[in-house]
Symmetry: D2
Subunit: 287 residues, 4 copies
């Protein structure tokens, strides 16, 4: 590693942690404010919503279910990065506006993905938090552009990114003056094929050890199976995550994407009860 | 896949589960008896002890610490598979006899690794449970040999073994008539280098979904860092593991191997209290 | 895989090849024209130049060396995707203009990377071929934008992209009407650490089997070691690649990036002689 | 790494090369004698034969085809390591005796796999070269046992083994006094699924750089596709391998295992002609 990096002997061998994301002391941890909802206080922040915005009804009904069960931030994709050009690509700008509407109606701030430097200003005009997805963790012009806003950024780990590269990508954002970054472990690519990705929960204590930034987990993309989400969500809380982001759909079987990994409102509600118990067992709570 | 394999549509796409390890119904789960200590009842079985047997004093003091804190099975290596021929290879037969002595003194049954088909009979004459380590998960003559005994077998996942291969290796043992197999997730090899391996906790719900065999986790080898063990042990319990196997050393800083990932007696004792809380939060308990 | 994909039984199990990149018959192969230099005719196209444009002198001297040794396209980065925000990021627009100047002086067409949708029009105004780098293989807005130009595109495989994802990313470009795509294997990320990446040469025959697009190899990034480049370049030719892209620097020991994997002019010249022999041994030649 | 290892600054960063396998000078390279057939002289040693011995007729006819085309060592498995206990496990001792018979008839020395420490003496009584397979590269008691013989050993890289671990496993054998070790790259496990493994050809120049031991390649297991074998065999030669080991079957469509990756006699014969040309292009030849 070249440049302005400190390799703290109190860190981890072989991982240079850049200066702005680096933890300065054991208790050093940042709290990120998402339009009034904090991430990183110790109480867990639960983010939920559909993979993609499909229609006003779908979004509103799902958002109500999220709120009823105790979710505090709404997620939903309007610009969708899809491996195939022939798959549903999202509703685009219309989807962003639906998210803003439903957010106002329900009182839930929302996070949504931005994939193109040209769209950052537009999306930042509506969203409470900008997501940089896994496929764009190495997209440095995009990191710089979201770094120029002062919006909170949800930065997902690239499916092929080391912990060191993940922290360097966060550093790109902080280096532009935007310190409102939340890191998200969402599974890495390995040889194993029974799960969509391999959820690397050890990244939670590792990142909490190295950086002051909050760390959340996405057990939906991490596993790719609806029935695995509750186990891995509970495990994420026990591992010390500051929050979770999960896919919920009011009718999972009709979802245009990722229905197989989306919880129904009832499943989500049940899970929230269980998560509260696990949080309390480790001396924490849900927000 | 050739041969006598059923691919259950209620299983997981792309994974053929062999007949003897395959779960027959949702509630189908085996309990393995290790000289009176059950694995798989719902209550968690905690296995702990040193990486390697180094001396009688080291083993006895560590075993007492394990017992005092609530551990129910002792672990300890006498035959050590080491990457380098110049590393400490274990005390061999003398180590096995020390384990048997300390086991008698403390009342803790013990599990120890066997690496060579020629040693199975000897080790099985002393040990309460035989461990087949990660590096030998694909050693079929060894699997057949431990399958011919009726001793419980702790089968560790190969560091680059798929879930399907892991189940096929268990099938080798059951196919010899020995149904007393406990599976152990201990981390897989990925591109990430800050941890020794990547602990694949999603393997826990996946294996519980596919097989009736109990599943435990080794957070010591899975992470390679002592300070990560508590987080990942709690996460393993929350994910639904039937038990844990952990490295404890009465003086970690003096350990001949793996001291950096071994807990001290005090750390282990503290962790046991925390594990009990997490277990209760998900409606379970420690044994 | 959803949508408009054909899974040819004459293809490869488990890999759906999208329609526009799909090979229609055994002899079906496209030739891409890069300002008069063809890629895919059977004769090998050698692309070479510095990792990054550093100065006019460095670029001109290196380009002359490339030409003298028989290279037919110049490479050079002006916009550099760097893991750390504190590393040299390239000369930007000034670098693009230097490339255009040196290209005119030497008569070598040039290929250079574009990372940002906002810069595609500018770069396409100068470059003979646009490179989409490994880190942007999943950057769909960028793929669409280069697809809207009619410039040849050098698409590098993502460092953890499957063959299927690689082909789907190419399909994004063709789907916009730009059929001038050359695929480049440049190494994938694995657990092995002695090399920068693991150069997957089996991707060459696999891609030639599945798609009509030309396939070239980058042995410089694929290995990360100057002394390995000749062996792997020769192996790439023997494996059936349609060309090579290599890093050459007139003074490797003074390079601002990737000097350790750049050949000197003399090493490159020597290698070209050897490559010609290997090409002839398999019934081909260099351009 | 502990112990008796030298990390040569002329080696590769991050890889400690153990003393007995370590290259002492640029020209330092061992020649291994396999009952009169050398490996490592510069001229390439071609080893070929069926995946498994199935019958006397199959073995004899295949061996004749190997010899006619210029192969100099016969391969064939009698003890087969199979992922599933329900797959064909080989003919065992009877297979070893068939190999010895056919070897005598054709004059081709033979190499065959040994998987069990208890069988080393028996197999060494017949075979000209002992193979330690990929799944047993970490089987240290087996390495020690073959190290106690003076038979040449063909050591295959574990599918999950780093270059450093591969060299350490070879060191186990040399450390017992048996210096007759040939290393074999046969593909590593990655995320890619269109090939059976990812053949890591960069291992060839890397190993030749670090060790004096000869290095050969197995393009049959490395790819898992018959139609890819010729390309990757030629690439292996161009990369600098000291030989090849390939699966040939007199009737591939009837093979009991690995028929899809076995060449027919005609395909093998054609390939040998091509390999000779590539070898000459790099200043070498076939034996």
């Amino acid at each position: 590693m070249e440049g302005n990096l400190n390799n703290d002997p109190a860190g981890v061998e072989g991982c240079a942690v850049p200066v702005r994301v680096k933890k300065k002391a054991k208790a050093d941890s940042s709290v990120i404010d998402v339009s009034g909802i904090p991430v990183g206080t110790g109480a867990l922040t639960i983010i939920a919503g559909p993979c993609a915005v499909e229609s006003y009804e779908q979004l509103l009904e799902t958002a109500k279910a999220v709120k009823n069960a105790g979710g505090v931030i709404l997620r939903g994709g309007a610009f969708k990065p899809r491996s195939s050009p022939y798959n549903f690509q999202g509703l685009g700008e219309a989807g962003i506006k639906m998210l803003a509407d439903v957010s106002k109606q329900t009182g839930l701030p929302f996070v949504t993905e931005v994939m193109d430097t040209r769209m950052v200003e537009f999306v930042a005009g509506y969203a409470d938090m900008l997501q940089v997805g896994s496929r764009n963790m190495h997209n440095y012009p995009l990191l710089i552009e979201v770094g120029k806003t002062r919006k909170p950024v949800l930065l997902k780990r690239g499916m092929m990114a080391t912990i060191e590269e993940f922290l360097l990508s966060a550093e790109y954002i902080l280096n532009q003056g935007n310190e409102n970054v939340v890191l998200c472990e969402r599974g890495i690519r390995t040889f194993e094929t029974t799960t969509r990705n391999t959820l690397d929960l050890s990244a939670v204590p590792m990142l909490k050890h190295l950086t002051h930034l909050p760390v959340i987990v996405d057990p939906s993309h991490g596993t790719g199976h609806r029935w695995m989400v509750p186990s891995m969500a509970k495990a994420s809380v026990a591992a010390g995550a500051d929050g979770l982001i999960m896919e919920i759909h009011y009718k999972p079987e009709e979802a245009l994407c990722d229905g197989h990994q989306s919880l129904s409102p009832d499943e989500f509600s049940l899970l929230m009860t269980d998560l509260k118990k696990v949080a309390k067992a480790i001396g924490r709570d849900l927000l």
